[in-house]
């Protein structure tokens, strides 16, 4: 062992000589088995159903509809709104992932200047509040584009999608950089010694191995962006949260309906995001075992 090769200390190695601390492991090691309901799930769902139904049921009397009946009556509209949230989340995720992949590759590229610029852009968009970026997109992107003499209007929700894709891009860029940095340097050396060019090494050796590492944080990011899409209601896009308050107004603005209605919105997102979280944890765990 002559030259001190510039190598990162693996967490496991760092902990090895000292028996005081085990390596840091990201959250729970439970096996993936979501058809089986466990106490946690029951508490979670029961808790939400209680806020939706319980709070309101007591107040329901006479001619007034109970909260559950109100939700039932407006269910198609609310579900349409929720579907719109999902649509925005998918589109902004696709857009942000593509842009983030490019930005991330620039961050680890060979060009010094581009590397700096990509790093700065990543940090800037990663550290800005999502809501500020959303405002940024809403106000800074023109409401119509003129391409070859055709004027195309750009609806608000498309601008919102772009606004959400900015933080996705920045976080994706970091995910790419982190995954590439986490590969042992021996992989680069081996590829180099076999006369692979840098580009070939990247695309044939490094990135294929990174896909697996990037999947859990990428899914986590998707879950976060899905939950962030309700912020579009603040800038006037008609999604589930906007429709929820419209439903509330249509029912005469009864204060007792607010908790159940917002509770219902929480339940919808919970049922969508919780399985994603479980699956992410399962993947993380499997990846650790395979290492």
């Amino acid at each position: 062992m002559s030259a001190p090769p510039p190598r990162r200390l693996e967490p496991s190695e760092a902990g090895a000589p000292l028996a005081v601390l085990l390596p840091f492991r990201p959250p729970p090691p439970a096996a993936f088995a979501w058809p089986r309901l466990r106490l946690v799930h029951l508490v979670g769902i029961a808790g939400l159903v209680l806020v939706v139904g319980g709070a309101a049921h007591a107040q329901a009397s006479g001619a007034r509809l109970s909260a559950l009946e109100v939700i039932w009556r407006w269910l198609p509209l609310l579900m349409w709104g929720f579907g719109f949230n999902i649509l925005m989340s998918v589109l902004s995720m696709a857009l942000g992932t593509a842009a983030g992949l490019g930005l991330g590759l620039l961050q680890i590229g060979e060009n010094r200047l581009l590397r700096r610029v990509a790093w700065a852009a990543t940090q800037f968009f990663r550290n800005s509040p999502w809501l500020v970026l959303l405002f940024f997109a809403m106000f800074m992107i023109p409401f119509q584009f003129t391409v070859f003499g055709h004027t195309m209007p750009l609806p608000d929700w498309v601008k919102a999608v772009i606004g959400f894709s900015l933080p996705v891009m920045a976080n994706m860029s970091e995910i790419v950089r982190g995954a590439v940095a986490s590969l042992p340097s021996g992989q680069w050396e081996a590829a180099e010694s076999l006369a692979f060019s840098r580009r070939q090494t990247m695309w044939r050796i490094i990135l294929p191995q990174c896909v697996k590492r990037m999947l859990p944080p990428w899914m986590n990011l998707y879950s976060l962006i899905t939950m962030a899409t309700v912020q579009a209601s603040i800038v006037g896009v008609s999604e589930m949260l906007t429709l929820t308050s419209q439903v509330h107004a249509a029912e005469g603005g009864r204060p007792d309906l607010l908790a159940p209605l917002y509770g219902f919105a929480m339940l919808c997102f919970f049922l969508y995001c919780y399985p994603i979280e479980r699956f992410t944890l399962y993947l993380e765990r499997r990846f650790q075992l395979n290492q």
Binding site: L9, P11, A14, G15, P17, L18, A19, V20, L21, L22, P23, F24, R25, P26, P27, P28, L39, V40, H41, L42, V43, G44, A46, G47, L48, V51, A55, Q123, F124, N127, S128, P129, L131, V132, F135, F136, F139, M140, S223, M227, T229, V230, Q231, I234, L241, P255, D256, L258, A259, P260, L261, Y262, G263, A265, M266, F269, F270, C273, Y274, E277
Partner: protein, 254 residues
């Protein structure tokens, strides 16, 4: 005197370039903006402290021998991690705020128990706290069983083991993750905008509505938040350094 010169310079800047920084040359806007900034910092600091406390207590309760307690804590974590924070804020402020009885204030006016600022603190703290419980938990799991046993053998109670041995060790392990989450919390304080808490984003919108200087205020906002995050990260790194255990991990050796 100096202020006046600076103000005049920025007024000139507006007249020559169109860069309209009212928050520098206009006393009223400056006052508004600074109070907004103050509100953001206040929200962030209070929520950070409460959410860390929630994390520490929650992680301890997760080790409870009682199934019900564990189930409740897990349920809390699972709900708050997997529902949109903005809806949580609405649920608390509009939903619970409307149902809870009103109280009489000093002048005999009937006012809500909690103001919008207080509701924002409650919901943001619970949101970040749920993440902190998970973070502390994974830190605790990294402390070997034998360390706990050694502490128990020395006669510590369950709480004593947690307070004096487990938590200090776990905290050091999970600081990077905690760091991340607190930065996130700082960014999430902007959601208080939605319930009219006069924080930075809210006052900025008032200012750009009055002065018609959206692009300039947009840039100011982005820079302000980048700086705030930078300050928080700096403080957390200092803390990480101060807590580093010699001989363990990246914080040591080099």
């Amino acid at each position: 005197m100096l202020m006046e010169t600076v103000a005049r310079w920025f007024l000139d800047l507006y007249e020559t370039t169109g860069i309209n920084l009212t928050i520098v040359y206009d006393a009223y806007d400056r006052q508004r903006f600074l109070s907004g900034l103050g509100m953001t910092i206040y929200l962030a600091v209070v929520c950070i402290l409460i959410s860390i406390a929630i994390g520490a207590v929650g992680a301890w309760a997760q080790g409870s021998p009682l199934r019900v307690v564990r189930g409740l804590v897990n349920g809390f974590v699972v709900i708050f991690r997997n529902t949109p924070p903005l809806v949580q804020i609405f649920f608390f402020y509009f939903g619970l705020g409307q149902i809870l009885p009103r109280i009489e204030d000093a002048d005999g006016m009937r006012v809500p128990i909690l103001t919008n600022v207080q509701w924002a603190i409650v919901s943001l703290s619970l949101f970040a706290g749920a993440f902190n419980v998970e973070i502390f938990r994974s830190g605790l799991e990294a402390v070997p069983r034998t360390t706990t046993e050694a502490a128990q053998a020395l006669g510590y109670t369950r709480l004593g083991v947690y307070r004096h041995v487990l938590l200090p060790l776990a905290l050091r392990i999970c600081l990077p993750a905690l760091n991340n989450n607190l930065v996130n919390l700082l960014k999430t304080t902007t959601l208080a905008y939605a319930i009219a808490v006069p924080e930075t984003l809210y006052v900025s919108k008032q200012i750009w509505t009055d002065s018609q200087n959206v692009p300039v205020m947009m840039i100011v906002l982005l820079i302000v938040y980048t700086l705030l995050v930078g300050i928080l990260v700096f403080i957390m790194h200092r803390w990480e350094k101060a807590l580093a255990i010699p001989g363990y991990g990246q914080g040591s050796g080099r």
